[in-house]
Symmetry: C2
Subunit: 155 residues, 2 copies
Amino acid sequence: MFKKRENVTEVEEGKYLSPKFDKDGLIPVITMCSKTKEILMHGYMNEESLKKTIETKEVHYWSRSKKSIWHKGKTSGFIQKVDEIRIDDDQDSIWMNVDIGNGASCHVGYKSCFYRSIPLGNIKNVQELEMEFKENKKIFDPKKIYKDEPNPTKL
Amino acid sequence: MFKKRENVTEVEEGKYLSPKFDKDGLIPVITMCSKTKEILMHGYMNEESLKKTIETKEVHYWSRSKKSIWHKGKTSGFIQKVDEIRIDDDQDSIWMNVDIGNGASCHVGYKSCFYRSIPLGNIKNVQELEMEFKENKKIFDPKKIYKDEPNPTKL
C-alpha cells in the first residue's frame, strides 16, 4: 500500500511515508497525551489500521489478543483523537499525540497504562523489585465498562 | 531473572516487577527527553540490558542489528542518563525519562528520531504521502561521529 522502501537515504532523509512493518505485519506505536505529555500506552498498528487512523483522525490499533482492527474507545467511550503523528528515522515506529479529554487510556482503569515506576540503582533481590504507584485513583471501574469481556493481559 | 509472571492481577495491580519479554527475548522501550517531553527514540531491551540500565542509571538497549548490548552514547558521547523508568499495566513495555543534556539521540544527526510528521486526513495517493520535517537542523554530523560504522537502518 504505502511507498516501497527502496533505499536507506530516502527512508531516512526523504519526505515520503514508507513505513516498515515487522514479520507479523505490525509497527509499534507510542501514544502521548497532547495536553499533559504523559505516555498513555504502547500499541501496534498494521497497514490498514495506520491508514484508517490517518484518514479518520481517530486511533485504530491492531489488537494482538483479538487479532483484529481495534477502534480504541469503541467500548469504553474513550476515543483517542489524533493531533499529530510522527515517524522515526528508519520508519519502523510511530509517535502519536492524542486528545482523550478527561478520559482514560488504560483497561485497568488508570489514565495512563504506565502507572508504576521501577526503582533505580543497585538491585538487592531481582525477584522482589518493588515498584511505586504514580497514579492512585482509577478514572473508571473496568468491571462496569468491560463487563464480561476477556482481560487482554496475557501471562 | 525477574519475578515469574504467575497471575494477571499480580502483574497488573501488584508492586513487583515481572516484565514480559517477547519470543525474541525483548521488551519495547519508549525514550522521552525529561526536559522537553519529546520522544527521542523507540528501542528494545533484553533482560540483561534492562538490569544494567536499572543498576547503572545509564541506558543500555539491545541492538537488533548488532545483536548485542548497546550502551547508548558509547560511540557518539551522547549517553542517556535515566531519570525515571515506568512499566505498563501488563508489564510488556517500558517508558523512560532521560537526560541527554544538549545532545542528540538520533543516528541521522537530529535530536529526536521522530523528526517527520505524517499529514492527517483523506489520503489522495498513498504512494506519495508527503511528510513535514519538524527538525531542520542536525545536532551533529553522523559521518564525523560514526565514520565507517555500518548504518543501522535496514530496508
